[in-house]
């Protein structure tokens, strides 16, 4: 009898699953030592940076390579040297070879001593791109919000967590940084003056402009794909709704939603549509509207809480915060197959942000940053001394 009920329950679950046409896969354990073996020899020449070490760490971080010591059996090999000389102080030279020693890359760089690390990042990306055909992330950056000593900080670090540069220090909270598509500006929420406002800051000059300071909530900014508009949440009409602002014309923001529930966390899709969080169905879930608004279409049905969407650059995947059993995970929905994957073991995981090549997602575990590959196979912490929340992966620099 008991078994009969179990069967019924399974059948109901199965039908519910079919009705939603979404499938849930749990990928919460990393897959070790999976990837292309690549042998990396130490760079001779006495450079002040461990160039081979930086390259090995970057390739390992992609989850697609297994670095090996030189001489070990591998599909590819990297060798090189950095010696004093050239027009700028150092000459860094390297070769990438494939099976049977076939030459694939053979390049050299002139660099001043303080640029050896960026050269190592560049070499990492060149190797990655040559072998995978995808753009590499070693030369990219991540913005995040730090906290300590009574201050909030907006910080821009390299993708491996090194070289963290403060671009804003405030005695009031800072939230939700978002990169402009050209990587020159960050939009974020600031509570200076003990009220919320959306500020756009030029990363390279430090100049700031408040673009929204309406009564109530000014939250969750997101840039349109062409960088000309910002979507955000305002509660000036009584409850949070999604608005879009044309940055050039300064015309009043256009309202895109109309519902008595909470609508917030808009993110632009490559096609001009917008995905956002709403609790109009009773719990927070993700919805999508077209470029001009319209009737929102519900996208998520798993668990009782799906929020804070981030969209892959090709528009195919949406990653989000996902709650099940009282724990928050990072999960990803494949819009093409409707497959729903839980990527992290969970706890207080939040604020996912897609890398510009769509292969990785950076997120916060509460006080630390971590990254996970979009297939869940690669996970790692991003080491930053001090607290780090609200990460935003920058676009590729031009």
């Amino acid at each position: 009898m008991n078994r009969f009920f179990q069967l019924i329950a399974l059948l109901v679950l199965y039908c519910v699953g079919l009705a939603q046409a979404q499938q849930t896969i749990d990928i919460t354990k990393g897959i070790e030592d999976r990837g292309i073996p690549i042998a990396i020899a130490p760079f001779g020449g006495g450079a002040p940076e461990d160039i081979a070490g930086i390259i090995a760490a970057n390739l390992k971080r992609t989850g697609q390579f297994v670095p090996r010591p030189s001489g070990a059996p591998a599909d590819y090999a990297v060798a090189g040297q950095a010696r004093p000389g050239g027009s700028r102080g150092w000459v860094v030279q390297f070769q990438l070879t494939g099976a049977q020693g076939a030459p694939l890359l053979n390049l050299s760089f002139d660099a001043p001593p303080n640029q050896l690390r960026p050269v190592a990042q560049r070499i990492s990306d060149l190797i990655y791109e040559k072998i995978t055909g995808q753009r590499g992330l070693a030369g990219t950056r991540i913005a995040f919000v730090g906290r300590g000593g009574g201050f909030w900080f907006l910080v821009v670090a390299d993708a491996d967590g090194q070289n963290s540069q403060i671009i804003l220090r405030s005695t009031q909270p800072i939230m939700s940084p978002a990169w402009s598509p050209d990587g020159s500006r960050l939009a974020y929420v600031s509570f200076e003056g003990r009220r919320s406002q959306i500020v756009v800051q030029d990363v390279y000059t430090g100049a700031r402009r408040t673009v929204s300071a309406a009564p109530g909530i000014n939250g969750a900014p997101s840039w349109s794909p062409n960088g000309q508009r910002l979507a955000f949440a305002l509660s000036r009409d009584g409850n949070p709704e999604i608005y879009a602002l044309d940055l050039a014309t300064q015309a009043p923001p256009v309202r895109l939603t109309n519902n008595s529930a909470i609508d917030t966390e808009p993110v632009w899709m490559p096609d001009g549509g917008i995905v956002f969080t709403s609790d109009r169905g009773g719990s927070p879930q993700l919805y999508r509207i077209g470029p001009g608004g319209g009737v929102p279409q519900r996208l998520t049905f798993q668990g009782d809480y799906n929020a804070r969407p981030t969209v892959s650059p090709d528009g195919r995947h949406i990653a989000m915060m996902h709650r099940r059993g009282g724990r928050f995970h990072i999960a990803v929905l494949d819009l093409a197959t409707r497959q729903f994957r839980v990527l992290t073991p969970g706890g207080t995981d939040e604020s996912p942000s897609f890398a510009p090549n769509g292969a990785m997602i950076v997120y916060s575990t509460g006080q630390r940053l971590a990254a996970v590959s979009v297939d869940g196979g690669m996970k790692q912490d991003i080491a930053i001394r001090g607290s780090a929340r609200d990460p935003a992966w920058a676009p590729f620099s031009r």
Binding site: R169, Q367, G386
Partner: protein
Amino acid sequence: MQKCIRNLIVAASLALLFGCAATGENTEEQTGVQPDATAQPELAGQPGQEVYSYPYGQAPSGYESYDFYDTTGGAIAAVQPGAAPGQTAGAGAVSADRIVYFDYDSAQIRTDSRPIIEANARAMVGNPRIITQLEGHTDERGSSEYNIALGERRANSVRQFMIVMGVSPQQIRVVSYGKERPAAFGSDERSYALNRRVEIVY
């Protein structure tokens, strides 16, 4: 004009302050720091400047070498010296008779909170010059922007209650900090309960 002069004085004293500072802070001016260009005059009078922005690579120190008085982690570092994690941080030093607590995932005014709101509302009705800011907060669970919306719901519940008591809407400002300004830094039920609150700030 007066505002302009006042701003000039503030700017001049800030310049003096940084000019005299013996630390690396005085390099800020040479490196092109942008003092908050968006400062709103009506909100001036805050003690000290709240915000400094820096061109990328030109802040006086990197984030990891920043001289926090405690660098073991953000939450602990943000607590007042001497306070242990989980203790009340006393961020705004708001007294207990101006804090309204809420149940989990709820913006309903609890019966035990009514006397606090009523006492504050009576004071405001009696003195229409009092302007209050209702600051809504949540516990740390969930998305930060969604929590901003939940905190505002709580502050609006208190606002509505005060308006029913006869307080003029012009006397009330509402802001939500969501989970950004916790009163207690622990990740336990006790801390969560202390953080789900609206502070009535005069």
